[in-house]
Symmetry: C2
Subunit: 326 residues, 2 copies
C-alpha cells in the first residue's frame, strides 16, 4: 500500500529491530527485564567505557546508518583496547530524532549485527527513546582484563620508546576529504574516518609489555600530551618516523602543510603506547602476529611536554595541539 507508514512504537522497535542483537547473549535476558546480567569472575577486572555520538557533531545526517552504528561500537571497543581489555558486551542508548525513519534504525541495527560478528560481542541491553533534537547515541562497552593488569595512560618512564599501531592521520585527512579539501581518489581516507579499526587484539597482547597506553582519538600530539601529563614525563617524536598510509603520503606530497593535520587531527583510533626499548622486537612481533604493524616514533624523556623533530633535527611548532571538543 502507498502512503505514510506509521513508525514503530518503543516496544515494537525493540522487539523487531534491537532484540535480534541480543538473542545470542543469555545475559541480555531477551531485553525483557529491567537490566542485563553478566557473570563475573575473581581472576579478572571489569573495564567500562562510554562514548556519545551526536548527529551533526560526530556524524552527518546522511552518513549511512550502518557505518554510524559500527563507528559508535568501534570507538568504544578502541577505548577497551587502550586498556588491554577483551570486549564482553555493550549497552546501547538510542535517542531518535522526530524524523528518524524505522528504516534508519533497521540499517543501524544491521551495522551492529555485522560488527558483533567481527568483534565477538553482543548487545546486553540499553534504552530507546525519541526527543526533539538530533539522533543522540550512547554506548557503554564492558570488557575484562586479568586482575590487576589493566593498561593505563600512567606508567611511561623516561627512556621508554613510543609506538603507534597502523598509520596516523588517515582519520583527520578523511574528514577533510569528505569536505572536498583533500583529494582521496581511492576513498581510503574517508573510509578510515567513517570506520575506525579498533586494535582490540593488540591491546590485549600489550598487557605486561607496554608501560602506558591510550588510543589516538583527540590527535596524536594531544593524546601523547595526555599520556605524558599523567605519567609525569615528556616526549620527543620524529616527524619522519610517523607511519603514513600511501593515501596520506600522497596527500602530504601535494600539501606538506597537512603534516599538522596528521599530528593534531583526531579519529585515528590507533593505539599509542610506550615500552622499554629492549621490548621493541617483542611488541612489534606480538602485534604483527595479530596482523597489525607497530612503529616506533620517538622516546619518552624526563621533564614535560611533547617535542616534534623534523628531518634535520629542528623542532617543529604547531598552532593547534589537538581537537578539543566539549
Amino acid at each position: 500500500m502507498a502512503g505514510g507508514r506509521e513508525r514503530l512504537g518503543e516496544f515494537e522497535l525493540i522487539s523487531r529491530l534491537l532484540a535480534p542483537l541480543a538473542k545470542d547473549e543469555p545475559g541480555a535476558l531477551g531485553l525483557l527485564d529491567d537490566g542485563a546480567v553478566l557473570a563475573s569472575s575473581s581472576d579478572s577486572d571489569l573495564v567500562l567505557t562510554k562514548d556519545l555520538m551526536i548527529c551533526g557533531v560526530h556524524f552527518l545526517p546522511d552518513d549511512p546508518a550502518d557505518l554510524v552504528a559500527r563507528k559508535l561500537l568501534r570507538v568504544n571497543l578502541s577505548d577497551l583496547a587502550a586498556m588491554g581489555a577483551t570486549p564482553r558486551g555493550y549497552l546501547l542508548g538510542l535517542c531518535l530524532a522526530p524524523d528518524t525513519e524505522d528504516e534508519w534504525v533497521a540499517r543501524f541495527a544491521d551495522g551492529l549485527i555485522e560488527d558483533q560478528g567481527s568483534f565477538g560481542v553482543h548487545m546486553l541491553g540499553g534504552d530507546t527513546t525519541a526527543g526533539p533534537g538530533p539522533v543522540t547515541l550512547s554506548l557503554t562497552a564492558i570488557g575484562t582484563v586479568p586482575k590487576g593488569h589493566v593498561l593505563r595512560r600512567k606508567g611511561a618512564r623516561p627512556g621508554d620508546r613510543i609506538f603507534v599501531t597502523g598509520t596516523i592521520g588517515d582519520g583527520a585527512l578523511g574528514l577533510l576529504a569528505l569536505r572536498g579539501q583533500v583529494t582521496d581518489p581511492t576513498g581510503v581516507l574517508a573510509d578510515r574516518y567513517r570506520l575506525p579499526q579498533p586494535r582490540v587484539s593488540v591491546g590485549a597482547a600489550l598487557l605486561g609489555r607496554a608501560t602506558a597506553c591510550l588510543d589516538v582519538s583527540d590527535g596524536l600530539l594531544a593524546d601523547l600530551g595526555h599520556l605524558c601529563d599523567v605519567s609525569g614525563v615528556g616526549a620527543r617524536i620524529e616527524a619522519a618516523a610517523l607511519p603514513l598510509s600511501d593515501a596520506a603520503r600522497h596527500a602530504l606530497a601535494n600539501a606538506p602543510e597537512l603534516l599538522e593535520t596528521v599530528l593534531t587531527g583526531g579519529d585515528d583510533y590507533e593505539l599509542l603506547f610506550t615500552a622499554p626499548p629492549e621490548r621493541t622486537e617483542e611488541v612489534v612481533a606480538v602485534a604483527a602476529a595479530k596482523g597489525v604493524p607497530v612503529t616506533a616514533i620517538g622516546d619518552v624523556t624526563s621533564g614535560s611536554g611533547v617535542t616534534v623533530q623534523g628531518g634535520n633535527g629542528e623542532v617543529l611548532g604547531f598552532a593547534r595541539s589537538g581537537y578539543r571538543h566539549r
Copy 2:
C-alpha cells in the same frame, strides 16, 4: 566582573565539576584513562542498566538541575532494585545543549554528589560533549547480585500474591499537579514526580523470596502486564487495595476519574513483585525492616491479561493501558 563568562571546555568541565564525583572511587582512575576498572568476584553476577533522559521529554528546561541529576541516577537505581542488585557505581553520558551554562552543570553535579552519599555509589566514568539539541542524559548503573539469584520479571506463578512497595499514582498525579491539572497544596505529589525513591534495599531483601519483580515506570497496569506476559500468567488486582498516599486519596476524592491515572500513569518507581501467599508476612516484614511499606493488591491467575476489580467485584475498564514512549 560583569559581562559574559566563557564556558568551560570539556577537559576543564570534567576536572572541575565531574572529577569530584569520582574522587572516592579508585576504579574511576581519576577519570584520566579511557575507561574505568571494577574488580569482580566469582560469587556474584553483575547487573547493568541504562536509562536516557531528554530535556523537554523526561524533564523540563526549568527543572532544578540537581533534581534532574538525582532523578536520572534514581531511575537507574530503581532498575537495579527491580533485579535485587546492590549498586556498585555508574557511568554518566552528558550531552549539553548550546546554551547550557556551567552553573547548570555545577548544580547537576551537586545533585549527584548528594545522592552518591545517600545510595553509597560513585561515578566510575563516562563521556561529556555538546550538541545542537536539548540536554540529553544517559546513565549506566552497575550493581551486583549473589550469583544465580537475580530477580526477574519472569517467574510469577498462578496463586502467587501481587505486592507493591510504597504508594501508587503519586508520580503521575505529580506531573498533572505540575501542569496545574490537579491540586497539590503540600507539593508532595510534585516531589514524588521529580524525585523517585528507588527501593534498593527492599529489592535486595526480596532475593529468594519474590518469584518475579519489576519497577513501576510505565504505569501499574502496563508493567503488571509485562510481568504477566513474560511469566505466562494473568493477574487480578483490586482497586480498593491500591496503596495511596494521603495526597492521592485527596485528589481522588475530588476527581474519582483520576483512578485511571493512578493505574496507568508512570513514574512511580515502586517495586511490583509476586510471591507465594505463605510468604506474605515475610515480605512485608523484610520491607518494613527497611522502612518501606508493602501492600498486597491482588493475585496471579492462570491465563493472561490483567483484570482490575472495583469495590463490588465488577471489572473496571480503562482506555489507556499505560504510558508508551518511543
